[in-house]
Symmetry: C2
Subunit: 203 residues, 2 copies
């Protein structure tokens, strides 16, 4: 899986969930169209009257997710920045998404402002295949997160984690190892280990 | 539209986006199954190893959204509380959602914890009909939010807002009035009014 393909999934699903934090620190989420994908950048827009617009211009921090019909989920976290050249961007967005004219006919389209996410962390999770598959990716200059459970050298090789794993993604060895790309991050191994040999990173 | 029907939409779509705020104040969002709808309560579950679980047990504040094939969007904001009687609830959830056994076979299901949202604010937005339609509803003891743009008595009746509205949902009068149930909340009237007669509430 590549970051570009993850952005394509968001564009294909199109109606993705965009989450922000409001001025009171509460989570907010709404369905927003992914309007364009270009290189490794994601473009969307919103109207200046909306609380979403205020949250984007305040911190710009946004988390996006969508799932396609194959049960492939993409999560993208990053900072959205407002684009200069509003008219040109909105015109391009309407050109590639003509249905927008039904909602914002004529000149009313210019109440919309274009935003771009150029740097961000991506989590791809495929629940449609067995075993499940996950991968962390990035766009732009975002650093790649290390997430998951890891078995340390304290492992005594008893195999409790291996037997408990819902996805059977823990391999025997010294120490035992978790196949990170097939892990649910459920934490059952972490709870089951009799000697607390597991550590939890970034989740 | 009723709150119950909004919850049914979330259950029918099933894979909804659940947004939280993490310990660093950043927005987080992921796809989670809506497992049960009972009365005016929504039930879901997550594994104890996940950051989602930590965020739910820290503040419990969650915002949920999903859109169905008719372009009807539901947003639900409220506090999720962890349910006692974990085994009974997880068993009921697996009974009504047997596909869960593929991901968490056998006893591994008990790494999951059940949560319920019993009080919350709902926004229903129907982009699939013309004109667009929106309504605010609540479940439990949540207070109903007043959101939108409102034309005050400072209105001079020039009709600029009426002419600018993308959805033509502003009616002439003294003052002019916005048909709130057909408003996009785009804010074009707010910007267009030559005498700043509009006020913005809750958005």
């Amino acid at each position: 899986m590549t970051a570009q393909n993850c952005l394509r999934i968001l564009r294909e699903v199109k109606d993705a969930a965009f989450a922000t934090v409001d001025e009171t620190g509460m989570p907010q989420v709404r369905i927003i169209d992914v309007m364009l994908i270009d290189q490794e950048k994601l473009y969307f827009c919103t109207a200046r009257g909306k609380d979403f617009y205020r949250q984007l211009t305040a911190s710009g921090q946004v988390a996006i997710t969508a799932m396609n019909h194959f049960f492939q989920m993409v999560r993208l976290s990053g900072r959205a920045r407002k684009l200069s050249g509003q008219k040109e961007w909105i015109d391009r967005i309407f050109e590639e998404n003509p249905v927008m004219n039904n909602v914002y006919p004529g000149e009313s389209r210019y109440i919309l402002e274009p935003f771009c996410i150029a740097d961000g962390q991506i989590e791809f999770f495929d629940l449609g295949r067995e075993p499940v598959f996950r991968e962390c990716l990035t766009i732009g200059n975002a650093r790649k997160p290390q997430k998951g459970f890891f078995i340390t050298d304290s492992c005594i090789g008893c195999g409790e984690c291996h037997r408990s794993c819902p996805q059977q993604c823990i391999e025997a060895g010294t120490p035992y190892t978790i196949r990170q790309d097939h892990c649910l991050h459920c934490g059952l191994c972490y709870e089951t280990c009799p000697v607390q040999a597991l550590e939890r990173k970034g989740i």
